[in-house]
Symmetry: C2
Subunit: 263 residues, 2 copies
Amino acid sequence: MKTRVLSGLIMLPLLVILYLGGYVLFGACLLIGIMGVWEFYNGFRKMGVHPNFLLACLAAVTLYIINLTTDKYEWYMLWFFGAVLLSLLYLFNIEHRKLEDAMATITGIFYVVFFSFHVTLVDQTGPYSLLVWLIVITAFGTDIMAYFSGYLLGKHKLCPKISPKKTIEGSVGGILGSVILSGLFGYFFMPDILIHCLVIGLLGGIVSQFGDLTASIFKRKMGIKDYGNLIPGHGGILDRFDSVLFTGPMVYYYIVLVIGYMP
Amino acid sequence: MKTRVLSGLIMLPLLVILYLGGYVLFGACLLIGIMGVWEFYNGFRKMGVHPNFLLACLAAVTLYIINLTTDKYEWYMLWFFGAVLLSLLYLFNIEHRKLEDAMATITGIFYVVFFSFHVTLVDQTGPYSLLVWLIVITAFGTDIMAYFSGYLLGKHKLCPKISPKKTIEGSVGGILGSVILSGLFGYFFMPDILIHCLVIGLLGGIVSQFGDLTASIFKRKMGIKDYGNLIPGHGGILDRFDSVLFTGPMVYYYIVLVIGYMP
């Protein structure tokens, strides 16, 4: 419990980054993407799988450069193609590579780098850029509220094989917490789209738990407890941001496809 | 040799499909993508890896529906996100899934379905749609010319560990053949952009061999000789179209990013 509260405090710099937005957030997302994929690939190395970290760095930097320099969407398509293509060419050193090495490279680039990139995209949605806060409010709000409601009320196991401590009561409490916190955010900061904030809160409460459980599955299969040990006792970057990987895209697609924002 | 010539004849329906273009080509690409990913996943099953074929079908159909119904590129971004997301959720049945099952699902969707989808995209480039012919001319032209020049002149092995029969002489002959055939095509059908046709011929001669070798690596690692046995003696769909997976995107990105076509 103490650890969990402390780890909340350590997230304070994040608030500054979100408040500043723009290039600061842009740089932070790129950095978190690269550090995240490093941790992700470390997990694979423990399984004897060797993804290409340099390639993931190249993919990350290229993706952010495309975002910075062009609005021709075909460059993004080319980025997807190129990321898969280069990962496959990595297999040409056939004696020293397994198919898993290329597949893990591809998975890491998309799951960590591309997913986290959506936080930057949300920050670039003009009048809706403030919704970038809901990415973290839903992610961390769900996590904290699920923890407390599970702690106080938890009786029925949610998915013991993936994450033995999680309960259905905690899960429901997390979703409710996410809705309430997102509603409060909307009420005070974006009252015109309060309803949208509540819906994002509901969706965020659900997808952030899927993000958390997905990371648990990876770690379980990799045979590790945490992705890293960046801040002693608080795990790695990916342990902190596993839910953000899912709530970031959710908020972005909600803005462009449900609210209908056009750049 | 006889097999190779016969297999050329069997490609004749392809010429009709390319000539008709439009919905016929659209449907053929979707079908080839789905059949291809089926063969690809069969190879994985031989390794004890179990990708989710139904998910790949869903991804393929969704991709083509997006192409048909919207020109908002964010839907393509959502498609990428969704394909990766659903593949990861496939792991939630944690006792019966390996990480490889999800990673192979992702790889198949992008490598087979997304790569082959570019053939349709080329067909939709208005004044440049005729260049769809260069996708197959470079792919099959390189293959055939590499075979004959390797047969007649081949002395130095190209990459014996991946494909023991291929020679440097064959590879160079393949590239030259691709340039010549593409040049002839440009001269007769698109004289205004003859230079572009020659450049595409050169690039196609190179990337189609990478496509061929990539498929060889997969098959070697999977422990299979051919991906399938659709037409007895001629292998499966993917054995036929392994180079097209690479020349399709190459021609598309050449049109939109080098020639600068805007829809």
